[in-house]
């Protein structure tokens, strides 16, 4: 697997600086506060509106759906800048990263014209409904089911760990449209767009260990989903979902969730002119630099249509362990007293990083599951 290297064009560099200067201005105006893990836990619909006004939601999508037809690399740069400054982009994140590409690939014209422009205007946020109370890593075992009725489907069941479902309008939901067949575990699953404000849908918060509301259980009781809200082909839900995984796994959000902490310790060590600690920090910098090269290489390869399942899964497995390791490394470089409301930014970012870290290597595929996937792909190919 030979990956492209991570150079950017002049235009791309220019775009990066444009994004950066916008974000720095917003930060100075206190539109948002830098925080670690903000891409998933920093849900701020007003801020998403501002991003939409820049034309930065659905950046790569066709103009006719409200997009800018920019390259995936431009979107990569945009995303990186959000992460580096710790901007609260969680509200539109899923719709931008997953729903848009899914509909562009499998959606009907009607679905695209209806949803995509609304997403780009930050009027319409999406959640993902995959896990269920008893499924965990074993996604093929989902049991939320949809029964065919006149003009649509009746959905019953429950999803769990759906991030930000309380702020989202719709949910791409994986449901069983044919009975479970143990010899063909991945068949009989379908993807539907569920309106979270429909009758029969109830959203129950699950408090994160910090006490914050973050993810939810979502219950369905005879929820009617019209036929025009089916995504792609009935029974192909598993395959359709998998196709997007490389995008989801190899993005900069698997490396940079705790970057603001790294930035802060760098600034402190410079102030201290602390050679000894800076020597240690170079190891983190080298790790980050090389992970970023890999992630960018995968992004470029994806744009060229290459096969990237293994390196993409590697970015997720290694990158999330890296972002998780940052607070543990930082505490060896200086003394800290992490609290969520600390005055010192270092202490605050430490607290955010420590408390959010456990999720990094669980969400979106546990490290254990990824190891298995990587090994199987390596052995077979």
């Amino acid at each position: 697997m030979k990956l492209p290297s991570s150079q950017f064009t002049k235009d791309q560099e220019k775009f990066r600086l444009e994004v950066r200067s916008f974000l720095q201005k917003e930060l100075a105006n206190r539109t948002f506060e830098t925080a670690c893990d903000s891409w998933l836990s920093g849900c701020n619909p007003q801020f998403s509106k501002k991003i939409a006004e820049q034309g930065w939601i659905g950046l790569t999508w066709p103009r006719k759906y409200g997009g800018q037809e920019r390259s995936a690399i431009d979107r990569y740069i945009l995303t990186e800048e959000f992460l580096a400054i710790g901007a609260p982009v969680a509200a539109h994140w899923i719709a931008d990263r997953q729903t848009g590409p899914l509909l562009l690939r499998y959606g009907t014209e009607e679905q695209r014209s209806y949803f995509l422009p609304r997403i780009t205007k930050a009027e319409c946020f999406f959640a993902i409904g995959l896990s269920e109370p008893n499924s965990g890593s074993d996604l093929a075992s989902v049991s939320t089911n949809a029964k065919k009725v006149e003009g649509g489907w009746l959905v019953n069941g429950a999803k769990t760990w759906t991030s930000n479902a309380h702020d989202a309008h719709f949910m791409i939901t994986l449901v069983r449209t044919a009975p479970y067949d143990k010899d063909s575990k991945h068949s009989g699953l379908s993807q539907m767009i569920l309106d979270l404000h429909d009758k029969g849908v109830s959203v129950k918060p699950i408090k994160y260990l910090t006490g914050e509301r973050h993810f939810n259980e979502v219950f369905f009781e005879d929820v009617f989903v019209p036929d025009n809200r089916i995504v792609g082909t009935i029974g192909e839900g598993w395959k359709q979902g998998l196709a997007e995984l490389a995008f989801e796994r190899s993005g900069p959000e698997r490396i940079l969730s705790t970057f603001p902490l790294l930035e802060e310790i760098y600034s402190i060590l410079k102030q201290q002119q602390n050679k000894e600690a800076m020597n240690k920090l170079t190891e983190l910098v080298a790790k980050l630099w090389s992970l970023r090269n890999l992630s960018l290489g995968v992004a470029k390869m994806l744009e060229q249509g290459g096969e990237v399942a293994v390196p993409a899964a590697l970015v997720k497995a290694m990158g999330t362990q890296f972002e998780q390791s940052i607070p543990e490394m930082v505490r060896l470089l200086t003394e800290t007293y992490p609290t969520m409301d600390a005055q010192k930014m270092l202490d605050r970012y430490m607290a955010q990083s420590i408390l959010h870290s456990p999720g990094f290597t669980i969400r979106g595929g546990t490290t254990e599951i990824l190891y298995g996937i990587i090994a199987k792909d390596v052995i077979n190919g």
Partner: protein, 347 residues
């Protein structure tokens, strides 16, 4: 451990088990005082452990004290158990009177608090454990000719509430010319160091108990949770976590026991720092492995795991931590004439 000690531990554990539930521990996050727990531990004499009977305590030796502290850690006890006991223990050790009023402490090897000629204390302390609930504070104050251990009333102190990562009260306290209740004779550097050693030792015991709880609870989870049609303890990658959890737990347990014996025999100068330094890795490994095994359920507030992991993440940055202890031990090693092997085998 003698049989009588084992009996004592079992009795203690029964009390803790009965009265300290997930909901009781939740009270801390809700900013409430777990009065039942306080009352029951007090009624059972557990708060007076290791204070001599003549000073109004319940007697007992260091082994009892450490057993109690481990238990406190194991149950994430939602009251200032360690702080109360340690404060009184220090008071008695330095010939001041223990108290049965609520008391906490603040120790630093560079006291930023002064004691005036007329016996008034002024100074500010960040992060005082359970400060808002305490009637008294034990601390070190710089007075004429040296440092003193002082007991100060808090009713006229300025208190700004704060919390550590576990939601436990860690309050900013400011004292302005508060008359001391009692003060010790001048405390020299070695005595101050000794207090900090003792504080670190008690913390290590609490942490050992917390680690043990996480370990046991994670093992239990692997026996209940199924994935892909099997109990998860049957997967090799989970077994690796189990082995690492077991390893770190037993290592720390044995380190704390050895440290405690060293304390009894007054050869604890290096054993306490060594334990504290070693605990650092245990906290990192155990909290990470336990969360990884639990998956999403473990990061919910509903599940009890975070009560223990958040405490570990808090405790490791309170008091004198591993960085300072490493520097201390490092200094001794640089000055030693012994070989490493002699250092390890000479008591």
């Amino acid at each position: 451990m003698s049989e009588i000690k084992e009996l004592l531990v079992n009795t203690m554990e029964k009390i803790f088990k009965k009265h300290i539930t997930k909901e009781t521990v939740d009270l801390v996050d809700e900013g409430q005082w777990a009065d039942d727990v306080w009352r029951i531990l007090k009624e059972n004499g557990l708060l007076a452990a290791c204070i001599s009977e003549k000073a109004g305590g319940a007697g007992g030796d260091l082994e009892d004290l450490f057993s109690l502290l481990k238990m406190g850690g194991k149950y994430a006890v939602p009251i200032p158990l360690m702080e109360y006991i340690f404060s009184n223990y220090i008071l008695e050790k330095f010939h001041l009177a223990p108290t049965d009023e609520m008391i906490t402490y603040n120790l630093s090897d560079t006291p930023n608090c002064t004691l005036s000629e007329n016996g008034e204390v002024s100074g500010a302390f960040p992060h005082v454990a359970w400060g808002r609930y305490a009637s008294n504070l034990v601390t070190i104050a710089k007075g004429s000719g040296g440092n003193y251990l002082v007991k100060v009333p808090l009713k006229d102190a300025l208190v700004k509430e704060g919390a550590n990562l576990a939601g436990e009260p860690r309050d900013y306290i400011k004292l302005t010319a508060i008359p001391v209740l009692e003060k010790s004779r001048i405390i020299d550097y070695e005595q101050l160091e000794e207090m900090i050693l003792l504080e670190t030792a008690t913390k290590c015991a609490v942490i050992a108990g917390t680690l043990k709880k996480i370990y046991e609870s994670t093992i239990e989870y692997t026996k209940q949770r199924q994935q892909f049609g099997r109990y998860i303890h049957r997967f090799q990658l989970i077994q690796r976590h189990i082995a690492q959890l077991a390893g770190e737990t037993v290592i720390v347990d044995s380190a704390v026991d050895n440290m405690m014996e060293a304390l009894v025999e007054k050869r604890h100068r290096h054993e306490i720092p060594l334990t504290r330094i070693r605990i650092e890795e245990a906290i990192r490994t155990v909290s990470a492995s336990a969360h990884q095994v639990h998956g999403a359920i473990g990061v919910t507030y509903e599940h009890h795991l975070h009560h223990y992991t958040r405490r570990l993440w808090s405790y490791r940055d309170e008091g004198r931590g591993h960085l300072k202890w490493s520097q201390k031990l490092s200094r001794d090693l640089l000055q030693s004439n012994n070989s490493m092997w002699e250092f390890l085998t000479t008591y």
